[in-house]
């Protein structure tokens, strides 16, 4: 049994990879550690549960990564996706530390897949967890338990008592009962606030009712909000989130990977009124999937429809939901709940604008439309071969960018720029320091692991002194 009257060296708020990495590292550093996880055991691990890989710098091929991936290339990739909304110092430190993240996780019992072909062709840059993020979490939790880390599930942290930059105690709700726990240090690894629709409503209004949250419903942002209200320095735009296009039939929370849909580049996408609104063939899907969530969020009713014909079906991964099929475009529109005349007109105009070319789904093939607004600049082929296929799409929110500001020792900073005495952060709650915009596949897990380890080390050191 966990003794809540005890003074722990380190409290870890959260239960994902960033939290558990911190807990394991602090325990290895000799600290007594209590993990406070909001979710029940079966759903533990935050968004890490839905992850699949980690982006790691490496000088030479490893057992699970091909070729080499060096600091400068990694930094360039990050700079491109963030458009400069990053902190070069923190980012480069993270990139360099990512090299050691992989062996650390392996020591925690995490298994990786041998370098893999297919999917997003990431075998050079990203190491894939065998079995995915939940298998990773199982291994790290088992390691934590073996080391003697105490873990409380079903435990939401309501408030961190912060006085003059010193975290004195935290108030929790443990299985519905309020308690207060004291500790020498606190590590906040409690994620973003994408699971809190009411908070998002402040910025997006009732459109949030049409958003799908891809990950854990336990990312309520309660600790984040609580810290920011106590003078902790804020980073990241609160109105911004990372969003992709998902099958609209996805469950509201926790649908994870299977609801994503890769059909857009090989389709036309129309809104509720049957009108196209963006170039579906602008770039390869791995570089474009992340903008479609926002594009759809800006459409009326936050919904869109991907429409293609039989030719395109073999070109994309199936979503978990069956395609909606019909013998004609009009019938498909009807089945999708759209105005058949409007959709037929859109398809007719589009077909008329498609230019001849040699189609190649594996590269930017230049098959485009002429005189159409907006244009489709690659993979444009006429939609004329039954059966016609449709999928409804909604914005799927992966994470929010708002966070607490930290320094390179994972210490949380106050508004006045001074570091807190004993409060650290790792994972999504501080990822905005490095990733202010966009996303780089597997980088969330890298930030979580790197900062989790730093926070754990620093907290253990602080507790010892």
């Amino acid at each position: 049994m966990v003794d809540l009257t005890r003074l722990y060296d380190v409290l870890v708020i959260g239960g994902g990879n960033a939290a558990m990495t911190a807990a394991v590292t602090a325990r290895q550093g000799g600290a007594s550690v209590l993990v406070l996880e909001h979710a029940p055991k079966a759903l533990r691990g935050g968004n890490s549960r839905h992850t699949r890989n980690l982006r790691a710098m490496h000088q030479a091929p490893t057992s699970v990564l091909t070729e080499a991936y060096l600091e400068d290339e990694y930094w360039d990739d990050l700079l491109r996706v963030t458009g400069g909304q990053t902190d070069e110092n923190l980012a480069r430190m993270t990139i360099r530390a990512s090299e050691a993240a992989l062996p650390f996780l392996e020591e925690c019992g995490v298994r990786f897949q041998p370098s893999l072909t297919g999917t997003l062709s990431l075998s050079r840059t990203n190491a894939f967890f065998l079995g995915g993020g939940k298998a990773l979490l199982n291994a790290v939790y088992a390691t934590a338990e073996k080391l003697g880390v105490d873990i409380l599930y079903d435990t939401e942290v309501r408030e961190v008592h912060l006085e003059d930059g010193f975290a004195r105690a935290v108030d929790i709700n443990h299985k519905g009962f309020p308690e207060t726990v004291r500790a020498k240090c606190v590590i906040a690894s409690s994620g973003g606030f994408q699971g809190n629709l009411d908070w998002m409503r402040q910025y997006w209004g009732d459109a949030v009712d049409n958003f799908v949250i891809r990950g854990t419903p336990y990312a309520k942002g309660r600790v984040l909000k609580n810290l920011l209200a106590q003078g902790v320095a804020q980073i990241g735009d609160p109105t911004q989130f990372h969003a992709v296009a998902l099958d609209a039939r996805a469950p509201q929370f926790d649908g994870g990977i299977v609801t994503r849909l890769d059909s857009v580049p090989f389709s036309i996408v129309v809104n509720q009124h049957g009108q196209r609104f963006y170039d579906e063939g602008e770039d390869v899907w791995p570089k474009r999937y992340a903008i479609w969530g926002r594009l759809i969020a800006q459409q009326p009713g936050q919904i869109a429809y991907s429409i293609c014909d039989a030719k395109s079906v073999p070109l994309f991964m199936p979503s978990v939901f069956p395609a909606i099929t019909a013998g004609s475009v009009g019938e498909l529109a009807q089945k999708l709940g759209l105005d058949p005349a409007a959709v037929e007109a859109t398809v007719r105009e589009y077909n008329a604008a498609v230019q001849p070319g040699s189609f190649d789904d594996r590269k930017l093939d230049g098959c485009r439309t002429q005189g159409l607004t907006p244009p489709k600049t690659n993979w444009a082929r006429t939609i004329d071969q039954a059966p016609f296929i449709g999928y409804p799409l909604r914005p799927g929110i992966t994470f929010t960018y708002l966070g607490v500001k930290v320094n390179e020792r994972a210490r949380v900073l106050m508004d006045n720029g001074k570091p807190t005495a004993n409060l650290f952060a790792s994972g999504e709650i501080m990822a905005g320091n490095i990733l202010g915009k966009g996303y780089l596949a597997g980088f969330g897990m890298t930030i979580g692991t790197v900062f989790g380890r730093i926070a754990g080390q620093e907290a253990a050191k602080h507790a010892r002194n």
Partner: protein
Amino acid sequence: MRETDAIAEARRNLEVCNACRYCEGYCAVFPAMELRREFPATDLGYLANLCHGCRGCFYACQYAPPHEFGINLPKVFAEIRQESYVQYAWPQPMAKLFERNGTVVSVAAALITALVMIGTALFQSPDRLFGVHRGEGAFYAVIPHNVMVLLAGSTFVFALVAIAISIARFWREAGGGAGPNGKQGMGKPLMQAVRDALTLKNLGGGGHGCNDTDGSFATSRRNLHHALFYGFMLCFASTNVATYYHYGLGLQAPYGYFSLPVILGTVGGIGMTVGASGLIWLKIVGDPEPVSRRLLGADYAMLVLLWMVAVTGLVLLAVRSTSAMGVTLAIHLGFVLALFVALPYSRMVHGAYRFAALVRAAREH
């Protein structure tokens, strides 16, 4: 395969799996699944038999219960395997034996052992049955060699024929191995399947072990299965060597403690005992969630029967020069006979179905 609730449930599961694919490193099931977009019942029968029940995918699954998708492949595949044993059983009326198979196998084992005991007691005088027999032909003084050969030989041959017919049907209905990438030629796939079966490659969760009892990886299930399987094979080899001694060299059992048949049989018997005991233990302490409880009886019955065969054989070796030999021999041969009789209508057939599935998987890739 017929359309059943289990088939529909497996199809629903695999549609989620095929959109996720996080488990592709675990075993042969997932690469085979990725070759498909639709899952007709026959393909599900094949995939279910390819599944070794390591449970790696269950513990790794972000959609396992209590998630609303409720994905649990090991459980539904176990149910489909059972349905395939029923549907392809030969002769068909015997398929009923797969229902309440635990009871059937247990009762059959008890009855047959009792019959052999009673038969021996009826045909032999008590002096013979309870006498001390030593030297060449000692066993046959209690049960004549011809009777042994006739009973064991006929039931074993029948078992092989029945299993072969079942597998042939299974193979044919599943498309004869001509899957999405179906290749011609059998040599290489056959070798690959033999290798995979002998090493239990797919019981390794991608090389790191199975989830024997919970979310942590271990290799005990694989090692115990090796002990049981290779133990069984050693006992089988022992019988073959003994047959050669008997007919080829004119030497009659019992053989010396350091003779080849006795060494093979002893090592094999110990392997089987350890393997069966361990596998029973894992079933008792294991997580019941990824298991079809309905089918546990059949597993226990078969493991206990194998355990009885091994242990009675070892006991026979220990008491063979005492007056207990006669009764022990009758009991041991009773269990061996029960094993042969039950063979085509018990969990033992999983090996044959799995091997066929492995051949097909090797042909597809």
